[in-house]
Structure formats: C-alpha cells, structure tokens
Symmetry: C2
Subunit: 121 residues, 2 copies
C-alpha cells in the first residue's frame, strides 16, 4: 500500500462558474476582443484593424458567442455602406477588472521570468 489519499480541504469543486468564464476566454482571441471593446463601441472592421492577425471568421464567431452570453451588444447602423457596432454590456464590463487582475499577474510572471534569466546569465 502506498500513502493514503488525503482528502482535499479545498471547498470549491473544481468547476462551474470558473469554467463558465474560462469557456468564454478560452478562445485564443476572446480576451482581446473584450479588451478592444473596453473603450467605446467599435465596428467590425475596426476590430479587425486593431487585431490584424485575427480572421474575419474567428472574429465573427467570438462576437456571436459573446453576444449570445449577453456580454456584448451588436447594433447595426443604418449607414451606407452598412456597418455594425459592438459594445460591452454592463455584465461584460464586469469582466474587465478580472481580466485586469490576470494581466497584472501576467506582467509579474514575465518580470520574474526575465529576472531568473538574468541570474542564470
């Protein structure tokens, strides 16, 4: 017999709300899309312009997904040529601080890593 399995004292079962959000952020581009919308509403083409590497197909998919979750609104403008504006809903904006928190850890991660590289060097 090996060691007994210690019961985890960590209360929260592995999943649920976290996965809900992560499911949204998992897409390689979703976080950036949200980020791009943190300011004012932006048109489809503007988003493409701001994220040159994203394909229309994926951008469209992300926007639809975020829209269906109520994080983003889509407003078709009566212009010529027609255009569409996307914006974060209040609910969507609630993601921003959390994303920000992640980004901060990311910066720290990079700093730490670079520091460790200098030590080695």
């Amino acid at each position: 017999m090996g060691l007994p399995v210690r019961k985890s004292k960590v209360a929260p079962p592995p999943t649920c709300p976290l996965s809900e959000v992560l499911g949204l952020l998992r897409g390689a581009w979703a976080p950036n899309v949200i980020w791009q919308l943190s300011g004012e509403a932006r048109r489809f083409g503007e988003l493409r312009h701001d994220m040159p590497k994203i394909s229309a197909r994926v951008l469209s998919a992300r926007l639809r997904e975020l829209e269906s979750r109520g994080l983003v609104t889509r407003r078709v403008l009566n212009t010529s040529p027609p255009s569409a504006e996307y914006a974060l809903t209040p609910l969507g904006r609630e993601l921003l601080p959390a994303i920000d928190a992640l980004a901060n850890v990311g910066r720290k991660l990079i700093e730490e890593w670079e520091a460790s590289q200098r030590e080695v060097a």
Copy 2:
C-alpha cells in the same frame, strides 16, 4: 514577450501579459489544477483523485507547464513507493485572487443568464 517558446503555430500572437496568463489557463484543466493546489501540497495521485476526469497524460503536462513557469513546485518524496508532491509557489498564489475574480463573474454570468431565461419563459 521574451518568455519560453510558445510552440503554438496556429494560435498566433494575441498580445500583452494577459495572453501569457491566459496561455496558462487556456488548457482545459490548468485552472482546476491551480485551484486544487490552493490549499496544501498534493500528490500526483491525489490530484487525479480530485479530478477524476483528467488523464494522467494531461495532468502531467499541465504540472510540467506550470512548473516551468515557476508557478508550481515539484518535490519528490523519498517514500516507498515513491511519490511526488506539488505545491503553488508564491508567484502561483498570486493567480488565486485573479482566478477568484473570474469565478465571481462566472457566477454572475450564470445568474443573469438564468434570469433571462425565466423572463422568456
């Protein structure tokens, strides 16, 4: 960002430190692994036990990845049979609040969504 090679040839570069963290959380299980380690150090088998659906292959991969980023430590115990304990580093712990923030938004997201469903019904 000068971090270790991100091998992904497909998911090209979203930008900023955010991606760095999201790269870590992207894996379907990474957040749960981190979550499971939020308490005390846990052994490989314990982690498997706590996340019944994860395969050894993936768990191993996630742990290696987190370890290489300096978020998790691996300690081999001199027992018989041999065992290994994993724990969050201080840097790794800094992810917890951010993950928590995400989870909170997740809960809200679920609530809002369910509410909207009731309205429709």
